[in-house]
Subunit: 363 residues, 2 copies
């Protein structure tokens, strides 16, 4: 990699415009307190020379970087198999770009990388961090807190709090789950099962809680052994293979099941396969609802999947906005889920985005 050619400096622009460096600096940074004719001369000089400020020099004195780190800590392949992070990144990118901030991407592979990330953040190279840490026992949040960098989390952090209440943005997992289950109830289903996600992630826990909220209501309004029947909850892990396994176990335990709420679309897909294999019709025999609205999967499945959609890109935008401004614009606060229940499952300044039920053929 060769060196870049030397670019014009403030000095050069100042000389060309016949003013001092300070004046050029003022113009470049918004132009306040510079009289128009002068400012115009400076702007022309900037354009003629193709001057671009040296960010390193600027950071050195301002101690700001106009850069934000995005930390994605995910040992599993799952991350790269669903568009979740890509969409999130896109939202983040849009917001950062509109505020002239740069996005520094930090991907971690296992714990060895944690120290590296912590060191980077502690090094004061960025103005803040947006962190995705999906696992309840993840040590990263603690390390990041110690680094003393302003941070917003993606998804409700589940770690035990030694650090005050973390700021985060999440989907209304619990409310979305309630909506899904109530939909199944409204279809007249009475033996509604849940295939959970990986329960070391708060999203899985929250969706399970939402399921229980409704089942505990006795929503099925039916016979005994139904509401909250533990046999109807099978632990899985957000993967299609896990979904298959869980669905088999479920059918063995409760062959009379007539509806399944899967913790995500991939799990639902696995369940669909097993149901087909066993000759059960969807939705006639068993109705299936997923979560995520992962496209094109959810549309292309057979039958197309009824599922709970979350606005992932918006989550990303809000995370960035929260970090940059310390607040999200009111029109984007989105504190109104499509469900009457409580919005926040957790303490702390969390921003919870609403979810929407997307009806397709599977339920």
């Amino acid at each position: 990699m060769s060196e870049a050619v030397s670019r014009p400096t403030l000095e050069a622009v100042a000389a060309r415009a016949g003013v001092s460096r300070a004046t050029v600096s003022r113009v470049v940074n918004g132009g306040y307190g510079v009289r128009e004719p002068l400012a115009e001369r400076v702007r022309r000089a900037v354009a003629e020379l193709g001057y671009v400020p040296n960010q390193a020099a600027r950071s050195l004195v301002t101690r700001r970087h106009d850069a934000v780190a995005v930390v994605i800590a995910e040992p599993e392949t799952r991350v790269f198999t669903d568009p979740f992070f890509a969409l999130q990144l896109r939202g983040i990118s849009k917001e950062l770009t509109s505020h002239d901030n740069q996005l520094v991407l930090l991907l971690t592979e296992g714990r060895d990388d944690h120290a590296r990330v912590a060191r980077y953040l502690a090094g004061g190279h960025v103005d803040g961090a947006l962190v995705f840490s999906l696992h309840l026992d993840d040590p990263l949040p603690g390390l990041i807190h110690d680094a003393g960098v302003p941070t917003v989390f993606g998804g409700r952090p589940g770690w035990r709090d030694r650090t005050g209440t973390p700021v985060y943005v999440d989907s209304d997992n619990r409310g979305g789950a309630r909506t899904a289950v109530r939909h199944l109830v409204s279809l007249g289903r009475t033996r509604i099962a849940h295939l959970t996600g990986a329960l070391d992630q708060t999203s899985a826990v929250d969706r399970l809680d939402g399921y229980r909220d409704v089942m505990g209501e006795g929503a099925g309004a039916g016979g005994p052994g139904r509401a909250g029947d533990p046999a109807l909850v099978v632990e899985s892990d957000f993967t299609p293979a896990g979904g298959e396994r869980a669905m088999r176990e479920l059918l063995d335990r409760r062959p009379d099941v007539d509806a399944v709420f899967a913790a995500n679309d991939l799990t639902a897909l696995g369940a669909l396969r097993v149901l087909r294999e066993r000759g059960l019709r969807v939705p006639e025999d068993v109705a299936v609802v997923g979560f995520d609205d992962m496209l094109p999967l959810a549309e292309q499945s057979d039958p197309p999947l009824t599922t709970v959609r979350q606005d992932i890109e918006r989550m990303g935008r809000l995370m960035a906005r929260l970090l940059l401004h310390g607040t999200a614009a009111p029109d984007d606060a989105g504190q109104a889920p499509d469900d009457a229940g409580p919005v926040a499952d957790a303490p702390g300044p969390g921003l919870i985005l609403p979810t929407t039920l997307i009806r397709r053929a599977s339920a």
Copy 2:
């Protein structure tokens, strides 16, 4: 976002270790030319103070940044719907990390962003750029060339060259396509169709060329109107919906088709749906081969998809390595595709990675 607390400087470390700033700097940067007892004292001081070099100050004098921009120019949603870029990013990230470089992610939304990206790159904020520009008519490569930053492209650039031969890394799209079609031939299929990708992307063009390579050979060894029959080629766009449309058109034109090579897995999925809908069995009536091995889609489809796999993460690693070193390690050069044909379809220093046929149930 609050200011970060002030961190220890070289000066502080020097004072603590009782040496000059210059000596500390030497130790921090590898320690060459510093006698052991001294160096050890310095290292201890660094550890005790938790010193981390100020990258801005360092860049200001060295004019290096230890940072690389990754530019993903994609106006379409497709990018975020398949794991292609995520995998590529992971490979890039691994390589950069192992060389202590940072990854600055630049996502562009339409042409308005091009100027911004060009300005950023020209601003000398990064040491190089890794660019994904999928469209033949994309102006971005030209802008980036003008910015004068060392650049490696992901995928064979298709733009008309005013800039010398670009460095790039790509999959062996043409060879992979040949392998796919030859596989269909070996199955005894004689009326082999191709559903193309979006032909403004080189990957689609190259796969079509590979298809033609084999069909032009008269590989079907059969009757008239077969090899290179234009009616067997239907233009599509890499999407499932496009795949459906193309498959319908194909069946209308050539109801006797007995094999389909789809430009990617999503297209194949669309084709599969239409075939099922028309009551045609796969692979008995029509064999189907995809491209990408996009998981979990390719595994979960019905029937599971025979497809051409490319090692996307490795492409990412090689791009980064090429940018950083100007060369890829020999064991990773991967200049041997699983196909005897020519590897490079394009002029210029391109690195072409081999592909592999993954046999599943669809062909």
